[in-house]
Amino acid sequence: MKKILNKPVLAVGPFHPLQEEAEFFQLTLDGEIVTDIDMRISYNHRGIEAISETLQFDQVPFLVSRVCGICSASHPLAYVNAVEEIAGITPPERAQYVRVIINELERIHSHMLWVGLAGHFIGYDTVFMWAWKYREPVLDILEEITGNRNNYGNVKVGGCREDVPNEMIPKIRQKLDELEKKVEMLVKVVLDDPVIHARLKGVGVLTKEAARQYAVAGPTARGSGIAIDVRRDDPYAAYSDLDWNVITQPEGDVFAKAVVRLLEVLESIKIIRQAVDKLPDGPIDMEVKEIPAGEGCGHAEAPRGETFHYVRSDGGNRPVRHKIRAPSFVNVPSFRASCIGQHIADVTITLAAVDPCYSCTERLAVVDGHNNVIHDYESLLKLSREKTARIKKEIL
């Protein structure tokens, strides 16, 4: 039988050229205007937290660097911050600076990646190719330092795995100089192009109030005029020694988010320059005998916002509980505030404007296909108790 829908619905996902990952947005349409948006994630749940509880403390950074290929420096860093809080240790100073360098390089390459993708989403493939070309040298530096273009896993409890060699510093500087010129050129192109203005200004506005209500993080919040940044608000690694600005834009539209990201790349270049200037001599690693019982929280400013890790230890050699909250988890629901009432063409770029990363946002969802319901926590608990009762009855 034909299923007749009352209103035309446009499906963005589960597999759609807009985004690489599996996600589903159901746009209810009135002509070209989107009147409602429904979203569903959890197509690709990998059970990272459960795996983490089976690994030793030293193995977990390699696992959590695979939470997301792009944020593969921020997640391990947040985890390591949490574990170091439990153990009450402070790693050597050089390690702190190396962590800053790796994290800022990651921010540069992530933001450049977004700029390219945003260009692609509005049909500007030239920006896509150019931004990704400019991003390559950053990945080369990362590969030279850590051995990998992504998934660095460069931090460990008590220090870093790989050092930034002193002889490499001139090369880093030179690459940053080249990159700075190109980013400044990109900033000019974005800020001056009238067609880009027409396409992005006033589109997908997330007001300051809405941003507060949805508790968004990172460039999404800073693009709405909320100056939050973990690096400044609760400094970790060596950020408190460095001088830089938190970039904010008051408008809250897609254009503001683009400007925030581009200017943040310039700030990151500034941070890395200072970090390689001040890079102290000494070890990058310290011996950590054991992790005592206790619990710790760690967070880091990932390119998309605050990533938060909670770790609990019972004094053994593996975490008994490890909880991860990635920034996209709070950024994605803000689509309800920014997308309704927009054109389809604007909604797609707005969906991309928070730089959503679904791999780190996936949560387990149990779908009952027969009754077409998604179980929540209570009903799962109820199902589990019913099953236990049934088994008990069978045994007795």
Partner: protein
């Protein structure tokens, strides 16, 4: 006596199907290669567009269950037939000027709408919401660029002294005057929209609608759309060359220079394609009706004044 022999030759071999098809694939290669160079990429080998079409020909044709099969299957063929006829009329006017008829520019203007209409029909018949949105956009786009395009031709007709045959018009290179230049530039943008290239590719809009109007097409039917598009890439710039840039001439030097003009127009189209983001459909309509419209009204006025007072550069 020649008529009976010539008409099938014109339609099937030159300047019709075989010629336009082959040249269209070369032009598609040009679009991809120059686009790649602009984007710091290497780009495809020369025969890649040909391989693509051949590969699609061998693929399975899937027709959605809910689709109107008859329209879904015939629409690409109608579009192809339209472009075929269009390129034949244009080519005959370019190379056999004595064989054309008065008013063929009006026939050409009608034929140029046919591919878009076929696209709207085919996508509407496919019963996909993505294609439906794409079809609605294509419809709005056709409505917005047709008027400026016709106005641009009115400028040319005024400039050439009321000439209504392509052969007559193409002997005047009207781009040399102010009104002619405005008309040329605006119709270049209209051609961009007809070809469905950025900034006016919102009917396909890969990242929004997942190729929109063409979404449900596959296999040989998709290949027919691709071939149609490749042939449009020959016919439409050729039309611009004939109407605004003085055509292909009758000597060998004129032919070479004519081909040069064709390549220049195609490269202009590619550059516009690669240096702009996609605009929204309402922005496109506003652009064509308000800005293009005003510019062309001015151009028509200038051309008329120039005609009355005999000032060639207006």
């Amino acid at each position: 006596m020649g008529e009976v022999f010539w008409i099938p030759f014109w339609i099937l071999i030159f300047p019709g199907f075989v010629f336009t098809f082959a040249l269209g694939l070369v032009a598609t290669y040009l679009v991809r290669k120059v686009g790649a160079l602009v984007q710091y990429r290497v780009g495809p080998p020369v025969f890649q567009p040909f391989y693509d079409v051949m590969k699609l020909m061998g693929k399975e044709i899937l027709i959605p269950q809910e689709a109107n099969r008859a329209i879904f299957v015939t629409a690409p063929l109608v579009g192809l037939a339209g472009v075929l006829l269009l390129s034949t009329v244009l080519g005959v006017a370019a190379f056999w000027p004595q064989e054309t008829f008065v008013g063929d520019i009006i026939v050409v203007i009608y034929l140029m709408v046919l591919p878009s209409l076929a696209l709207i029909l085919g996508s509407s018949a496919s019963a996909s919401p993505h294609a439906a949105v794409g079809a609605a956009r294509e419809m709005k786009l056709v409505m917005s660029y047709e008027l400026p395009l016709v106005m641009a031709f009115i400028v040319v007709i005024i400039k050439s002294g009321g000439e209504l045959s392509l052969a007559g018009i193409s002997s005047h290179a009207s781009v040399g005057s102010i009104s002619g230049f405005i008309a040329f530039f605006m119709s270049l943008l209209c051609i961009q929209a007809k070809l469905g290239y950025v900034p006016f590719d919102m009917a396909e809009a890969e990242t929004e609608l997942g190729s929109g109007v063409l979404m449900e097409y596959s296999g040989a039917l998709l290949a027919v759309w691709k071939v149609m598009h490749a042939m449009m890439l020959v016919a439409l710039p050729m039309f611009l060359v004939m109407v605004f840039l003085g055509g292909f001439g009758s000597t060998l030097a004129g032919l070479v220079w004519g081909i040069g003009k064709y390549v220049i127009v195609v490269v202009l189209i590619i550059l516009i394609k690669n240096t702009n983001p996609r605009v929204r459909i309402d922005q496109a309509m506003k652009f064509f009706w308000v800005y293009c419209g005003i510019a062309l009204v001015i151009a028509v006025a200038l051309a008329t004044i120039g005609n009355i007072y005999d000032i060639a550069w207006l």
